[in-house]
């Protein structure tokens, strides 16, 4: 049992909130909504991982699937996206297979890597064009929590949302930050004149 669950039980039994280490520190951030509560299935997460892997594939370093971006994405969709973004994303998840069947007569998961790349490249162009028309050309680079509940106006194309989430979830993951990029937890010094050779990885932050 998780420590916080034990604390919850004690609180329920005694009516007194525990004053322990947790109450005297930086607060723990609320957990992400579970995939199930957010209305996503394991199949949805697999599909998102495969979409992610098509956007950021394994090369000489691991890709999006290795970082399990799908699992992180659904939590961000449920908690950080506004309802209009969520709606666009959810209908987009269904639309992927519709597009896939129209182009290749098969659902996305049954496509070859080449076919997946071809399909999503097409969607990427459509999404870019649509976003730019409504002044959302930068949306792919915005943080998934960028939009506010009060914001009116169009939301980005669903593929932009998928790409935004894939990039964000991958490069903030341990795999993405330490294997595809470089990360040193405790650098210990600053060198502002370090030699760089083409091919050296960028720092994660």
């Amino acid at each position: 049992m998780e420590r916080r669950d034990i604390l919850k039980l004690i609180t329920a039994a005694t009516g007194v909130a525990m004053v322990g280490a947790d109450a005297f520190a930086w607060d723990k951030a609320p957990e992400a909504t579970s995939a199930k509560d957010a209305g996503f299935t394991t199949e949805d997460i697999s599909l998102l991982n495969e979409i992610g892997e098509t956007i950021i594939p394994a090369t000489d370093s691991p890709g999006a699937k290795a970082a399990n971006v799908g699992a992180t994405m659904v939590g961000l969709v449920a908690d950080c996206y506004t309802p209009p973004e969520q709606a666009e994303f959810r209908q987009g998840l269904k639309a992927i297979d519709v597009e896939s069947k129209a182009a290749f007569s098969k659902p996305f998961l049954l496509l070859s890597a080449t076919q997946r790349h071809e399909l999503l490249t097409k969607l990427d162009s459509i999404a870019k064009a649509q976003d730019e028309k409504v002044g959302l050309g930068w949306a792919v680079h915005q943080k998934p929590s960028h939009r506010n509940m009060e914001d009116k106006g169009p939301v980005p194309h669903y593929f932009t949302l998928m790409k935004q989430l894939t990039l964000f979830c991958f490069f903030t993951s341990e795999v993405g930050a330490t294997k595809a990029l470089r990360y040193v937890s405790i650098p210990g010094k600053y060198d502002g004149d370090m030699p760089y050779q083409k091919g050296d990885r960028a720092w994660a932050t």
Partner: protein
Amino acid sequence: MANNEYDAIVVGSGISGGMAAKELTEKGLKVLMLERGRNIEHIKDYTNAHKEAWNYPHRDLPTQKRKQEEPVIQRDYPLNESTNGMWASHQDSPYVEKKRFDWYRGYHVGGRSLLWGRQSYRLNEEDFLANAKEGIAVDWPIRYEDLAPWYDYVERFAGISGSRDGLDVLPDGQFLPPIPLNVVEKEVAQRLQKAFGGTRHLIHGRSANITEPKPEQNRVNCQYRNKCWLGCPFGGYFSTQSSTLPLAMKTGNLTLRPFSIVTRVLYDKDKKRATGVEILDSETNQTYVFKSKIVFLNASALNSTWMLMNSATDVWEGGLGSSSGELGHNIMDHHFRVGASAEVEGFDDKYYYGRRPSGFYIPRFRNWHDDKRNYLRGFGYQGSASRDGWNRNIAEMGIGAGLKDAITEPGTWRIGMTAFGEMLPHHDNRIYLNKDKKDKWGLPVLEMDVEIKENEIAMRKDMKDDAVEMFERAGLKNVNGYEGDYAPGMGIHEMGGARMGRDPKTSVTNKFNQVWDAPNVFMTDGACMTSASCVNPSLTYLALTARAASYAVEELKKRNL
């Protein structure tokens, strides 16, 4: 001594409160430090200090639910997962915005000393003279020379890294070696020197991050993680927890009481002295009285002012210090969120190692020496140069291995800077009690009526145009000026409310930060500032606090308080 009696009470445990407690306890006084929030122990309670982005449920992003719950702190960077709970909750501690005012507060032991930006600059000689010369507000009752030795003292103690640049606009101090500039920043600095005939200076930021260990304070030098706001397990930056509190504790003279909301300063109208404070225990809602010979109010500018407004109301309806007509007035901040960015060509064979907690600084040059503008005072820039990371736009790249290969390598060098401008003290920029709205403890809350006016608006044009001009004349490409939204308070440099002055009729506190109407009450946080300068203010609070504490102890010995 009864257990509710002390020599001194310090209200607040942030940057200035910690310094007051250290100075007073080291001089032998029995001190009670009161903090409205919870305790946070150095290192042990820095629970996120070793977490990475992937350890947070939403990768450190705020959720929509949290944004709704925290309508104020969500307006800027404070709302995230890594500092969850470290910025005061609007739900428990609301305030009223007659005009928009962003108030970011740290209600816990250490206050915002755990969360601050750590940039540390001295005010200059002109900063103390400008009000009098220009007929603005009132004259400072002190001059640079009065504070200079105290700047020396607190810089040596806190540990400020920086370079000695020999500029009259930004006096040098007692510095540890600077946090290095990178190769591109050095190049731009040289180009600016050349382009502006030596009148514009891009220098090392001066920061309260130590570049050499301070074994006497058990502090290790900065490890270049740039995670200061999580509490530093190395003691790499100056905070109450890393520096002042351990030394105050070591004297055996300090009692720290968290969960203690000071509701008023108790006042003896016959002796014209404070006798102590009344507190509300924020957990039990019990009221307690603590007595002392002197009181230091260091609860942050607006909260220290609030305390005076709630005190001695049987003598003055507007509270202790209101006889001047200036209590709660002349509220200031630094206005910012305007500047420029640009691309720097070349340097493709250069990169950097480590994450600095500070960058470069360009001190004020407007209305300095022979320069004259259509507004008063000036501004400085803070900035840095770095190479683009993964989250950059590569227009021709769609998806797949090509995209991944491209964005996992560093991109173009880019430099950016943001101006921080001086805000003039205006009598009608004010805060006052709103007795209709109450906080979680039933206490009246503050209402904010503060705005930037013509002088700041005129200055903002230069803040942007000058940034663009400097980058263009330095030969940089794709120069973009920007101006984001700014509301007072966003700078998190709240100042004023109980300004220092030479006359009790026009100021709340005197040249030693004593409240004119109760000389054993000292205000040494941002509330006492007579003008704002354009430099980050905390170092000045430290110097004023150390000076006032020394004076208070001398006066106590002479039985003058």
